[in-house]
């Protein structure tokens, strides 16, 4: 693998690093707002993956200039443009759920929510632990 291969795959690797940071934030952190921020990082990395694939070396933005030019692929741009706005709408939905969870449980930490659920269902933490086994 030469330098040109490494440069040619660099974007994809960085996308994967960002994606994994987002993924790790989602699975390892208990705070619900933090999870949503992690999900946003994950989402943005997918956007960058698509747009990186559509780029052509020496190309320009896909707006016709009337001169013969190389244009980068407009199709990923369309998909991602709408995905961003859908993303903010779903983020808003997620945040609304967080606000409701705060109202109902008075916390937005995952383990405390779990403890409160166990409390109502089983009475004490030990019984819940036994039930899970």
């Amino acid at each position: 693998m030469g330098v040109s291969d490494i440069l040619g795959l660099f974007n994809y690797w960085m996308v994967i690093i960002l994606m994994m940071i987002g993924f790790y934030t989602v699975v390892s952190r208990g705070n619900l707002v933090k999870k949503i921020v992690g999900l946003n990082i994950f989402q943005t990395s997918v956007f960058l993956l698509y747009i990186s694939m559509g780029k052509i070396s020496g190309g320009t933005a896909p707006i016709l200039t009337g001169k013969p030019e190389v244009y980068s692929n407009p199709l990923p741009h369309v998909l991602i443009l709408t995905a961003i706005v859908v993303g903010v709408a779903t983020t808003a939905l997620g945040l609304a759920l967080v606000v409701r969870i705060k109202n109902a449980y008075d916390t937005i930490e995952e383990d405390e929510i779990q403890a409160a659920d166990d409390e109502t269902e089983f009475g004490d933490p030990q019984a819940a632990e036994d039930h899970r086994r």
Binding site: S4, L7, L9, F10, N11, Y12, W13, M14, I17, L18, M20, I21, Y24, T25, V27, S28, G30, N31, V33, I36, G38, N40, I41, T44, F47, I51, S52, G54, K55, I56, S57, G59, A61, P62, I63, Y71, S72, P74, L75, H77, V78, I80, L81, T82, I84, V85, V86, G87, V88, A89, A92, L93, L95, A96, V98, V99, R100, K102, E109, D111
Partner: protein, 330 residues
């Protein structure tokens, strides 16, 4: 190494550092601010990758609206994350395994910028070659978005509509009536008040430009809707929600949420009436190109209407809650 490659690498490294800082920090206010920075840097990267329309959207959405919504959520919940109690080993192993599998998968991928990559030789060349003669507008992204793939976009607008309805259903029951709402304004800050008043006009004008100039330059209903909504949101932030509601009542905004989708779908039905396929705009004008122009203008307006209305009503729903954290705590 060319200057383009250096810019590319530098921006990606910035993104990586910002993402890592987001992961590590436990002060959520800083996390939200860094996520705005993350969006802005990724918008710069998107410009570099020739995706000007996408960059426009990312800058308006990521650094604007979603930051405001997250801050509103922090005001209603808490600003500090608790230290993780469980072991981090299992998530770390899962993440590393997934990452290595993905990296292994990239080894077969076409190299960055390759004009012969499979993605570049199907479908897209047709759009690039035919847009001028079939649609007659210079911005290929708008042509694909509103005409060639108008069906997809109708679906996306419906998703935004549905998400907006979801937010209203979740939070509407808790919106305080204007009498009960603790009036919180920032209009005692002279600089904020003056700057906001100066800015609102140009923001609205710019949104309209982005909306109606989308055929010729980067822009369109999605971006314009967000920018339009941000003018109302900045007004509500500085002069209080009550005053914003006086200017634009929540009921009217909720009506507009549906009107945008209805306009988009309705344009499709008009082409039905002329005996053509759904969303075939050619019948709307005297000739093919004139019809396409009109059709794109109408559906983009529908998109802009729905996006702006969903964002404003979402903001109303969030800021209408009674915040447990007072202004002075921030």
């Amino acid at each position: 190494m060319s200057i383009e490659a250096i810019i590319n690498i530098a921006l990606f490294v910035f993104l990586g550092l910002t993402a890592f800082a987001i992961l590590k920090l436990r002060a959520l206010f800083a996390v939200v601010m860094l996520s705005a920075v993350f969006s802005l840097v990724s918008a710069a990267l998107l410009v570099h990758l020739d995706a000007v329309d996408v960059a426009f959207t990312e800058a308006a959405v990521g650094a604007g609206i979603s930051t405001v919504l997250m801050l509103a959520t922090l005001a209603l919940t808490s600003r500090h994350e608790k230290a993780p109690t469980r072991s981090q080993a299992l998530p770390l192993i899962v993440v590393f395994l997934t990452g290595f599998a993905l990296v292994y998968g990239t080894l077969d991928m076409p190299r960055f910028g390759d004009p012969q990559a499979p993605i570049q030789v199907h479908v897209a060349p047709k759009y690039i070659a035919d847009t001028q003669s079939e649609i007659g507008i210079p911005n290929i992204v708008t042509a694909v978005l509103a005409s060639y793939r108008g069906f997809d976009t109708l679906g996306e607008v419906t998703v935004i509509f549905t998400a907006g309805i979801g937010v209203l259903l979740l939070l509407a029951a808790f919106i305080r009536e204007p009498e009960g709402l603790r009036v919180q304004t920032m209009d005692h800050h002279l600089v904020l008040r003056v700057v906001t008043k100066v800015l609102i006009g140009p923001i609205l004008l710019f949104a309209l430009y982005v909306q109606f100039h989308a055929d010729y330059g980067p822009g369109g209903g999605f971006q314009a809707g967000i920018i339009f909504a941000s003018a109302f949101i900045i007004y509500a932030l500085v002069f209080g929600l009550e005053n914003a509601r006086k200017a634009v009542p929540g009921r009217a905004v909720r009506l507009l949420v549906a009107c945008g989708v209805l306009l988009y779908g309705g344009v499709g039905f008009v082409s039905f009436l002329f005996g053509k396929n759904y969303l075939n705009y050619s019948v709307l004008g005297a000739d093919q190109v004139a019809g396409q122009h009109l059709g794109i203008l109408l559906v983009e307006f529908g998109v802009g209407l729905t996006v702006a209305a969903v964002m404003v009503s979402t903001f109303y729903a969030f800021s209408g809650q009674n915040p447990p954290i007072g202004d002075e705590d921030w």
